[in-house]
Symmetry: C2
Subunit: 412 residues, 2 copies
C-alpha cells in the first residue's frame, strides 16, 4: 500500500524516487498524484518527506489539486540555462534537472526512476545527469521491488474503485450478450433486422459506446475474437469478421477509469445458438479447472503453485501445457493470472519463471484467474477469467461476476 | 515522411533505430507498425533494411499483420538465459537483448532508442547492454532530429486520417453546442428539463459518448473550462462546476483514432446567452489576431516568427505577452501552436525558445494556430484554434472547420 512506500525505500536504501511524464495513463504518476490533466511533470519523493511535483506554469491548478508540494518549471528559466550551457539545448535540459535536485538538497544518493517516458530521451538525460552529479546513482526498478511492491496491496478505496469498474464492465458484457442474442440468423451468420451481417467491428464499437457511457475507457482495446482467432490468446479479433453461430468467441474486456485509472479484467467464452461437441468438451474442462483453481486461491500461497496445479490438471486431461512444453502454441499456453490495478498487468505474477518474491498472494492483492485452452487449427479457444480480491481478513472475493455459460440462446 | 527515415538515419550516422514498448498509444511504434494489439515489442530497423519486430508468441497474428519481419521472443527461452546469467533475472533480460542484436548482426554501431517505456527500466537495461557490447552506442533523440523529423511531414494517407478525425470532432462540437443551447436557464445557471443544473462533468461525459460513437478516444482528456478556469490555459475544467450564462467557456478538444492513432486539435470559446462587454472586447482581439496570423502562415516560414508576430499584435493592443514578460500568467501566456500527428504535440514547434531547425514550416506539416488571452482573476479566457495542413503545392488548408462565434444563443 501507499504507506509502505517509505519503508520499501529504506529497505532498498533509496534516498528518493523520481517519477517522470504525464499524470494520465502513467501508473506511477497516477498513483502518487491522483491523476489529472498534467501533460508533463517531475515528481520527486524523498524518503520520509512529502513529495514535490514540478509542473508547467499553465498546469498550476491541476498540480495544486494533487495536494503535493508544487514547483513550477518557470523557476528554471530556459533562457538562463541555455546561456550557462553555451546554447547547448540538451545540456540546458540536464542543468535544469540538476537545479531541481539542488533545490531539494538531493545532489547525491540513490534515486529510483519511474514513469512512462521516451526510453531514449530518458536514457540520455539521466546518463548525463549522473555524469553531472558524481555522487548520484540513478536506478531502474528492474525487479519491481519498490513502487510496484507498494501497489501490489490495495487499500479499501482502491478496491472499491476496482469493484466499481467491475460492476460497470459486467453491465457492458450484459449489453453485449443482449445485443448478440437479439439478432437474426441467415445460414450460420448473425444478421441484423435489415439482413446485414453483424461484424466484430460493429460489436466493438458498441462496447466502446457502452464503456464511454459509464466513464470507462479501454486504452488497451478489447479482445472479441471468433473461431481461429479465439484460439490465439492475444488476438484481438478482426473488425471485418462476421459472427457465426456455433463458433467460440473469446470476449476479454479490461477497461479502466477514464483518464487512466484503475482497471478491471474479465473473460467469458460464448457460442451463439449452439456449441459443437468438441467445444462443449473443452469448455467443460476449462470450467472445471477454473472452479478448482479459484477455490484453491490462498492468502500467502504462491501464485506459481496455482499455475503448476492448472498445468497438471490440464495435462491429466490430455492437453499440452507450458509446464512440460514451454513453447507450445496449443493447449494451455499462458500463465494463470496477474495482479490488476493502475496497470492491467502488475504484481503478483503467476508465471513459472516468476521470481519467488513476486508471486506471493498477499492480503490486499487483486488478481485474475484465467485458465484457457487453445486450438487455433480446430478454430477454437476457450478462456474464463474473473478478478478476485484477497481481503485483509483472509476471504477471497470475486469483484463483479457474470454467468459463465458457454451458449447464448438467440431470442428470436 | 516515413520514406525520409533512412536518409535521416544516414545524416545522423545511425546504424539502426530501436523502438520499445506496446503498439498502442506509443507513437513511434504505431508509426512503424501501424498499431495493433501488441502489448510489448522491440522493433529494430537497420539502416537501409526492412524492420524486424520481436514480439510475444501469443501476439504472433497481430505482429504478422504489421508486414514487418517478425521474430518471437520464444526464440530466446528465458530459462536458458537465466542459467547463463547464474539466475540473475536482470542480467538474463540484458542477455536476451544482446542475443537479439547478435541475430541481427548488430553488435556494434550507433543505435537510436525510442518508445514509451518505464524510464528507469529503460535506463538500467540499455546502460547494462552498452556495457555488455562495448562497440555499441545507445542514443536518445534528445533534439527530435530523426523519427520526429520524419513524422513532421505527413503523406496523403496521414493527412486524410487527420482530416477525418477533424470532421468527426467538429460533429462532436456541433452536438455539444446543440445540447447546451437546448437547455433552460434559472437565474444565470443552465438547467435541464427537470430543473437540474447542467455540470461540466455531464457535458464531458456526453462528449466522450459522441467521440466513442465515432471510433475516437481522448486519451489526454478534453478541456471544457468555464469562468476563472477558462483563464488558465491547461485547466481542464471542474466536473462539479455548473454552467452559467455570460461566462467564457474554453472548449479545447483533441481526440485521436481509437487505439492511439492520429490526433486532431481545435478550440472554440463560447458564452451562452450573452457575452459581457469585457469578454466581447477580448474575443474580438483574439479573433482578429487569429485571422491575421492564420493568413500569414507561409510554407518555409518560421513558426517562431508567427509567435513573435502574435505577441507584437497583442502587445500593441495593450496585453502582456511572453515576448517581453516570459513569466507572465496573464495576457498571452503560451506559444502559438504545434505540429499534430500521432502525438498531440509534435514538431514543428512555435516557442520563442525553439531550436531554429525545429520551427520551419515544411510542406506536408500539420499545425495548430491557437492564439489566446487569459485573465483568470477577471474570470475569463479566450482561445481560438484550428488545425491547418501545409500542402505539398503550397496551399494552406483548414482541416475541418466550425463557426468561430462567441455567443451561443439559447433556443428556448
Amino acid at each position: 500500500m501507499k504507506n509502505d512506500l517509505h519503508r520499501l525505500m529504506a529497505e532498498h536504501e533509496l534516498d528518493a524516487i523520481w517519477v517522470v511524464g504525464p499524470a494520465m495513463h502513467n501508473p506511477p504518476m497516477v498513483y502518487l498524484t491522483g491523476g489529472g490533466h498534467i501533460t508533463q511533470g517531475d515528481l520527486i519523493l524523498k524518503r520520509g518527506e512529502k513529495g514535490v511535483l514540478f509542473h508547467g506554469p499553465m498546469e498550476r491548478d491541476e498540480a495544486a489539486r494533487t495536494g503535493l508540494i508544487t514547483r513550477s518549471y518557470s523557476n528554471y528559466p530556459f533562457a538562463e540555462l541555455l546561456k550557462e550551457a553555451n546554447q547547448n539545448r540538451f545540456r540546458a535540459s540536464v542543468l535544469r534537472l540538476k537545479r531541481m535536485l539542488e533545490d531539494l538538497n538531493l545532489t547525491q544518493g540513490r534515486i529510483m526512476l519511474y514513469g512512462q517516458y521516451d526510453a531514449g530521451v530518458a536514457f540520455a538525460l539521466f546518463d548525463a545527469l549522473q555524469k553531472e552529479l558524481p555522487g548520484l546513482t540513478v536506478l531502474g526498478d528492474v525487479e519491481n521491488q519498490v513502487l510496484q511492491q507498494a501497489m501490489l496491496t490495495k487499500d479499501r478505496e482502491e478496491v472499491d474503485r476496482i469493484r466499481r469498474v467491475g460492476e460497470k464492465t459486467v453491465e457492458v458484457i450484459a449489453n453485449t450478450a443482449d445485443f448478440l442474442t437479439s439478432q437474426k440468423v441467415r445460414g450460420d451468420v448473425l444478421v441484423d433486422s435489415e439482413g446485414k451481417p453483424v461484424t466484430v467491428g460493429r460489436v466493438k464499437r458498441l462496447i466502446n459506446l457502452w464503456l464511454a457511457e459509464r466513464d470507462l475507457e479501454n486504452p488497451e482495446g478489447t479482445i472479441f475474437a471468433i473461431g481461429r482467432d479465439a484460439g490465439v490468446p492475444h488476438s484481438s479479433g478482426n473488425a471485418q469478421d462476421v459472427i457465426k453461430t456455433g463458433q467460440t468467441i473469446v470476449f476479454d474486456i479490461f477497461p479502466c477509469e477514464a483518464g487512466g485509472g484503475y482497471f478491471f479484467d474479465i473473460t467469458r467464452t460464448w457460442c451463439i445458438g449452439h456449441a459443437p461437441e468438441a467445444v462443449e468438451k473443452v469448455y467443460e474442462q476449462v470450467l472445471s479447472v477454473f472452479h478448482t483453481v479459484s477455490a484453491e486461491v490462498r492468502i500467502h500461497g504462491h501464485f506459481r503453485d496455482l499455475q503448476r496445479r492448472t498445468c497438471e490438471l490440464f495435462e491429466a486431461m490430455g492437453h499440452p501445457t507450458v509446464l512440460t512444453q514451454p513453447q507450445t502454441e496449443v493447449g494451455y499456453v499462458h500463465s494463470l493470472g496477474h495482479g490488476v490495478g493502475l496497470n492491467i498487468h502488475e504484481k503478483p505474477l503467476s508465471g513459472l519463471m516468476a521470481a519467488p518474491e513476486d508471486d506471493v498472494l498477499l492480503p490486499g492483492s487483486v488478481i485474475t484467474i484465467e485458465p484457457g485452452l487453445y486450438y487455433p487449427e480446430q478454430g477454437m479457444g476457450v478462456r474464463l477469467e474473473n478478478t478476485l480480491y484477497l481481503s485483509q481478513d483472509g476471504t477471497v472475493e470475486t469483484l463483479a461476476n457474470y454467468p459463465l455459460d458457454l451458449v447464448l440462446e438467440l431470442k428470436g
